[in-house]
């Protein structure tokens, strides 16, 4: 009952280290394999005694989870329709499957004709397989009969009926592993396979090579089969599935009767757009109001700034020279009292002043700014302190937001709504060179660009990844920034809001149209399986939210730390100041904003909401505010998003996008300024 490892999905890279390690020990390796939405993860949870990621939207499981069951290693894999290398997830699943000793193939009894394709492929690979026929309880309700015994006979492996919801048949899982065996393979195919296997290549590798898998063929130094050969094998396998279905499955009611009104309504724009609108309003209240206002205000200001940073900084200040500027605000946020405390040889050296400082800084509404003169103290605990800023930002601002967003995504996924939303929006996304799936990273972008940058992995081609990454960095404001923008615009009336939205939208359309025309290649078309729609299971949703948030923090924290270090070094070396002075003429002449607005842009590079928040304290006209937030929105992503983008998309593309946002932000902001100010 332990949760050993979350293996990061990093396409081909993970294999070597993981598999080599596994081969050296003799523990039996059991791998759960199945199509998306077959209840695979429920079974894995049962086996591991712990719940893990259940992914309803094909393409969002980003990790392989490993656990232990009765002394055997058990691996869960992303849902796949077949073993191959059509996308990153398939590659990861493929590598785990190739190294498996026993495969538990989970099959959705309601979609037997789709799922058996994978089953037969696993059998053709010569692996030891047992089949778990899940959702068997649903069969009676729908008057479908499946002859399990006959199915077992035709496949040549054991078939166990299970029902994940009530854990029916789960007591047989141990037996399923024990009795797993190689199934009946088609003779013609097996004959061709023998020719490859004669070169002392294992059967499972041989099959994939025949089916055209390049990387496996390279591993054995031979040429892979062509797409034509793969098709032949696939068609043969599909025909075998149909023959088996004819024999084992009988349906009393008419075929294709499942008919889900909500599912249908959410597909068609006439009803789907109102449904989407209602969903967005609910999501807005949850994320925009509850999470990013109430919760983050508490965690960031109370826990992060007033407790953690204050204590960390005054502890460091005890021993090193520091000037502390304390401002007391009233309930409306107006400064009412201010004092500067100077400790040229550390707080501890002056006990009387120390007491005064503590009394003054601990009253309600007090905010303390610590200015360290020691460069090391400044680097780690100053304004951009690597320690202070990283912790506050990651744990007290980002984490609540990320949890909130992943929770919403998990709800949408588990209900089966997301693939329908992707389908409904497909045609609109086509116009900008994307397919409906791109809605996922773009939606996540409104939460956190960093998180969205990682999710671009689920897109089908490099071209689509580039387009979405650019859209995210250029035009999508993240939730931290949205909150500040909303506050700035709230008093301004309707006009500025319309202006803001239409400018940003125009840039979005122009940018994506240009990229669609310029980038070579073709985007992948939408081809997506629509799972049944239903109410999300809370337990699944919560556990999924937990694992995703954990995975994200694990991935992003290090890079954010690096980013904070870079900015901190720029700060103490004076480069940041130089930058501010360089930008000043642009700000005053071209954007027609006060000189201090340049600070907002420099801060915006660190954190997008810093940039926008800096504008609060300036006395700006309504139109100046509008120009400023247009510019800030189009401006560079925050330091964490920037670093993750470089990692995902490479240096060249990342830098082009980054500098592109500079140019666009100032160009568009300036043009608007010429008209309205």
């Amino acid at each position: 009952m332990k949760f050993d490892n979350i293996l990061k999905l990093d396409s081909d890279k993970i294999t070597s280290s993981l598999l080599v390690e596994e081969e050296t020990n003799s523990t039996q390796k059991v791998v759960l394999v199945g199509n998306p939405n077959v209840g695979k993860s429920c079974i894995f949870n049962y086996m591991s005694g712990m719940y893990v990621d259940v992914s309803n939207f094909p393409g969002t499981t980003v990790s392989i989870t490993k656990s232990n069951y009765k002394g055997k290693d058990v691996f869960d894999t992303p849902g796949i329709y077949g073993v191959g290398s059509f996308n990153d997830e398939e590659k990861v699943a493929r590598d785990i499957i190739l190294s498996a000793d026993v495969i538990l193939n989970v099959v959705n009894a309601l979609n037997l004709d789709r799922d058996l394709f994978l089953t037969l492929q696993l059998i053709d690979m010569g692996k030891k397989v047992s089949v778990l026929l899940n959702f068997s309880d649903e069969l009676k309700k729908r008057k479908i009969k499946i002859d399990t015994q006959k199915l077992s006979e035709l496949l040549g492996v054991e078939v166990y009926e299970t029902a994940a919801v009530d854990k029916i048949g789960f007591d047989k899982i141990g037996e399923a592993i024990e009795k797993a065996r190689t199934g009946k393979q088609e003779l013609d195919l097996h004959f061709i396979l023998q020719q490859v296997m004669a070169k002392s290549i294992p059967q499972c590798d041989s099959l994939l090579i025949l089916e055209g898998d390049e990387s496996i063929a390279q591993k054995h130094n031979i040429t892979n089969g062509t797409a034509n050969e793969r098709e032949k094998i696939y068609i043969g396998r599909r025909n075998r599935v149909n023959e088996i279905i004819d024999v084992v499955e009988h349906e009393d009611s008419k075929k294709g009767e499942i008919f889900n009104l909500f599912g249908r309504y959410s597909l068609n724009p006439k009803t789907g757009i109102p449904i989407l609108f209602v969903m967005l309003v609910i999501v807005y209240f949850f994320i925009g109001d509850i999470v990013s206002q109430r919760i983050v205000n508490f965690t960031e200001n109370k826990i992060g700034k007033e407790f953690f940073e204050y204590n960390a900084k005054s502890f460091v200040g005890d021993f090193t020279p520091v000037d502390i500027d304390v401002v007391v605000h009233d309930n409306n946020g107006n400064p009412v009292n201010q004092r500067l405390f100077k400790f040229p040889s550390g707080i501890n050296s002056n006990t009387q002043l120390k007491n005064e400082f503590e009394l003054f800084s601990k009253q309600a509404g007090a905010q303390s700014d610590f200015h360290f003169s020691n460069p090391i103290a400044k680097l780690f605990f100053g304004e951009f302190g690597v320690v202070t800023m990283t912790v506050t930002y990651l744990l007290f601002l980002l984490l609540p937001l990320v949890i909130g967003f992943y929770f919403v995504m998990a709800m949408l996924e588990d209900s089966g709504y997301l693939p329908r939303l992707a389908t409904m929006l497909d045609r609109s996304f086509n116009k900008i060179g994307l397919n409906g799936r791109a809605v996922i990273p773009i939606m996540l972008g409104f939460g956190c660009i960093t998180m969205a940058n990682i999710t671009t992995r689920l897109l089908g081609s490099e071209r689509e990844k580039s387009i979405v990454t650019a859209i995210l960095q250029f035009v999508i404001p993240c939730s931290a920034q949205l909150a500040v923008i909303a506050a700035l615009l709230s008093g301004a009336g309707f006009g500025p809001m319309i202006l803001y939205v239409s400018v940003i939208f125009t840039v979005l359309i122009t940018l994506s149209t240009i990229l669609n025309k310029m980038l070579p290649g073709e985007s992948s078309p939408l081809l997506i399986d629509l799972p049944m729609i239903g109410f999300p299971r809370m337990r699944n949703v919560l556990k999924k939210t937990f694992f995703r948030s954990f995975g994200f923090m694990k991935e992003a924290s290090f890079w954010f730390f690096i980013g904070a270090l870079a900015v901190g070094l720029m700060d103490i070396s004076g480069i940041l100041q130089v930058w501010q002075n360089l930008l000043a003429p642009f700000t005053t002449n071209w954007l027609k904003l006060p000189k201090e607005a340049a600070n907002a842009f420099v801060m915006g590079m660190v954190r997008r909401d810093f940039g926008a928040a800096g504008l609060f304290h300036m006395s700006l006209t309504v139109m100046q505010k509008t120009v400023a937030i247009i510019t800030i929105t189009l401006f560079v992503p925050c330091i964490a998003a920037f670093v993750v983008m470089l990692k995902e998309r490479g240096w060249k593309e990342g830098m082009i996008i980054w500098f592109g946002t500079w140019i666009t932000a100032f160009l568009i902001g300036g043009i608007v300024a010429q008209f309205v100010i």
Binding site: N111, R114, L527
Partner: protein
Amino acid sequence: MLNSTLDQARKGNPITILKLPSGDIKSQLIRLGISEGDTLICIERLPGGTIVVQKNRQQIALGFDLAKKINIILQ
């Protein structure tokens, strides 16, 4: 009975797949259970031409550009 492409199908039409486009996408379609000779029902045609088909109990959405390349017999 009419030779056509999948994007021409209308809601409620039974259709028979005549020819799939070649390449990776064909393999992906076969894996999902759509192969040449199969009969499916078009259960939705969204404005713009995104097609949703149903085979037995499974619903699959196909983008317009993909649907255009699939030859069918409209029944």
